[in-house]
Amino acid sequence: MIWQIDLIVLALLVPCAMAAIALKDMMSAAITFGAYSFLMCLLWTEMGAVDVAFTEAAVGAGISTVLFIAAVHHSRRRVAKRRVGRIVFKLLGLSAAGAIGIILLWAASDFPEWASPDIPPSRHLSPYYITKTLEDTAVPNIVTSVLADYRGFDTMFETSVIFAAGMAVAMVLRRRRGREERTGRRVENGFARESPIIQTICRLLAPFMQLFALYVVAHGHHSPGGGFQGGVILGASFILLALAYDLDFVLKRLNEKWTLILANVGVLIYASIGALALLLGGNFLDYSVLSRILPATTPVMARSHGMLGVEIGVAITVMAIMVLIYANIASNGKYDKGL
């Protein structure tokens, strides 16, 4: 933790946020928002939250920006001014923000000192996790062990949230062909013609990205990363190809039906491991009872293996849903050639 960096990055965040909401061009705003996300990563790495920073880098700066650009692409780019009542809305916004700000600042005056080792959160629960993770679960990455085991139930629903988001996007946007004939060409925007250089490099990079994603999933017990980050990177490798070629190129390899099946299978793996524990006589998600069916495993190692299993499930779902959301937004629900 280096407080000088903290000071600078936090100071940079505020103008970045302001620019993102003030810019009149939505593409610029999306890019600025991506920069904001990268600053966030930096801030969190600096405060030691490597897993959070990793996720934010993959999600906030990567996927979110792509989704924004894809969505803006299908609608209007310029931001128009409100015609009437601009001042009323400004005052309303300012007063709401001001009121909340005052309450929060008032509350912050009682907070324990930042980064002090004696604050209640650092004394009450976290020492247990830090000192017991190896004994209980044999996983050195405490974030992974808390995420997938101590609070594994949260994570199961986190995966379900992603799944629900995918279903929601598909439900809202997806439209069948027929009424509007499939265009069969990329959206005409004047500056997105295919380039052999980009295509070759992306094609070269994609397998490495996927390999790295698998590493992130498998090595999540010992290093930053895990199912979620790995899944996002896997999804990003497909999205990269969809950007370099077109959506059809990806959909030929991973079509709509398979994304849906994979999305379901991933969460099902998670929930079934939990339910398996239930059937073996333990509580839901109590991986230690899995030692009864896994060969040569102590209850502690069973927890470690159980975590690996659920991480794989998370990765599969996240990958499938990322591709699903991108495909729907990039093609405006038509599953044609996309951007």
Partner: protein, 504 residues
């Protein structure tokens, strides 16, 4: 194999697994979706009833997820209060699921698997929110419910549905984020996320700014989520323009579960002493509830659309429950908890009726109700029970919760709240008699404008009841309203009185 001690997990896990099963089955044949939905919700309802039985027999249950002891792991806690809410949620969801078949086939024919997947995920979220004993776990489930709701509403074919959904996304996210922020304030002051653990640590910190602010922020978040006036802006449009089946699921449940969570926070995370005394006098909140009741009723009176009128009545009913909880006495809290149950069923009954009207008449304005008593006598009879309960006519359920609320208001000396209750009953009476009058006396179909045609139309209307899968749940709900009305005494003595925190 799975013993009774595992039922709390079963109640959540079965609907969750069913969500994926429904989605996968939908890829093969979409006719599998509906039976799977009913099966899963049936199992969940049975588990909920069994859990409530256990609670009534042996007292509160704690269930450790992942086998970790409470402050470290996530804990499920079922006591009399949420046991009751769980049963109501399961039953309402089951009936809404039975009812949904025909309207989904009509309104969203090409999206059935998605719809049912999101439907059951929403139920899972609501059940999880109710059962959990962990403040952060509640947030995750709140977001599951919210995300599924956004999509279920945006799927509507009504012109305004997407915009209503977008408004709901923005406001709903503010609400959920406030909740998360409040939990953060509690976490920084105590270092814990478990509700029972928080309850033991917090008393020393009651006077700190951060804890008081956390209470304000949590309340603000929940008030947005439950559409407590004046933070109700998202609700009327979202619920009016949602597809029928969506409305029948979320209109009865989402606001009530949020009210339950407020009660849970007030009694189990903070103490009643803090909520009623340390935090400040409860009177301003009761006055806000008065404003909610009056405003909701008046806005309902101004509507020309049947479904929209119902949504404003929800806003008024939220005022009842919040006011009852903040009366700070036994009668008020009993009335509020009883009203959570009653209002879920009443709203369900009224939205079922509105759904049948939409299904048969293809619209939900008042003019679409003409002549319905002749066309659909059973439907309208059931609707009348719901309407009477809404007004508060004995022996329907609505009377008893209002009675407790009135007693509470008198004991607390809150004359304003009492007056608002009576005023709202009066308005409800005016509203529903207007509806019944239109449905009973006015002839069906405006196209027969001249006098002779009207007389002819009276005789021509043939009985054309709603399909069985829609009618049966409606009749069941109205029967339940009567039954709860008759047995409300034993409901209060056996369950609700234990739900009221000690000391009242």
């Amino acid at each position: 194999m799975i013993g009774p001690e595992q039922y709390p997990a079963v109640m959540i896990v079965v609907p969750l697994l069913a969500a994926f099963a429904i989605n996968l089955a939908g890829l093969i044949d979409r006719r599998f979706c509906y039976p799977l939905l009913l099966l899963a919700l049936g199992v969940a309802a049975a588990a909920a009833l069994a859990v409530l039985g256990q609670v009534m027999r042996d007292g509160p249950i704690s269930y450790r997820l992942g086998g970790w002891p409470p402050p470290m792991g996530i804990e499920y806690v079922v006591d009399h209060l949420n046991g009751l809410v769980l049963v109501v949620t399961c039953v309402v969801a089951f009936l809404a699921a039975v009812y949904s078949k025909r309207s989904v086939e009509r309104e969203l024919p090409d999206k059935i698997p998605y719809f049912y997947t999101l439907f059951i995920l929403a139920v899972t979220g609501l059940l999880g929110m109710t059962i959990t004993g962990d403040a952060f776990n509640l947030y995750v489930l709140m977001e599951i419910t919210a995300l599924t709701n956004y999509a279920l509403i945006a799927a509507g074919r009504a012109d305004r549905a997407p915009m209503a959904s977008f408004t709901y996304i923005i406001i709903g996210t503010i609400g959920a984020s406030f909740y998360l922020l409040g939990v953060g304030h509690l976490y920084i002051m105590t270092g814990s996320l478990n509700m029972a653990d928080l309850r033991t640590i917090l008393p020393e910190l009651y006077t700190t700014h951060a804890v008081i602010a956390s209470f304000i922020i949590l309340l603000l978040g929940l008030w947005i989520k439950m559409a407590f006036f004046p933070l109700h802006g998202w609700l009327p449009n979202a619920y009016t323009h949602a597809p029928t089946a969506t409305g029948c699921l979320i209109a009865p449940l989402v606001t009530k579960v949020s009210v339950y969570i407020m009660a849970r926070l007030m009694f189990s995370v903070y103490s009643p002493e803090f909520s009623y005394r340390v935090f400040g006098p409860a009177e301003p909140v009761v006055w806000m509830a008065v404003a909610a009741i009056v405003a909701g009723s008046l806005m309902a009176l101004a509507q020309k659309d049947f479904k929209k009128m119902l949504t404003y009545l929800i806003v008024a009913e939220v005022g009842y429950m919040v006011g009852g909880l903040w009366l700070a006495n036994r009668y008020g809290i009993t009335g509020a908890v009883l009203h959570i149950v009653n209002d879920a069923l009443m709203t369900l009954c009224l939205f079922f009726t509105a759904g049948i009207v939409v299904y048969k008449m293809k619209g939900h304005a008042f003019t679409d109700l003409r002549g319905l008593f002749r066309k659909m006598p059973l439907t309208m009879a059931a609707f009348t029970v719901g309407a009477l309960s809404m007004i508060g006519v004995p022996p329907t359920a609505g009377f008893f919760s209002k009675w407790y609320l009135l007693l509470g208001a008198i004991e607390a000396g809150q004359w304003g709240f009492m007056a608002a209750l009576l005023f709202s009953s009066l308005i409800n009476a005016v509203l529903f008699f207007k509806v019944i009058e239109i449905a009973y006396f006015e002839p069906c179909g405006v196209q027969h404008g001249h006098d002779g045609g009207q007389a002819a139309a009276h005789d021509v209307i043939a009985v054309d009841e709603a399909p069985f899968s829609m009618l049966a749940p409606l009749v069941l709900v109205s029967a339940a309203l009567l039954a709860i009305g008759i047995y409300s005494g034993s409901l209060v003595t056996n369950i609700i009185q234990y739900a009221v925190p000690a000391g009242f």
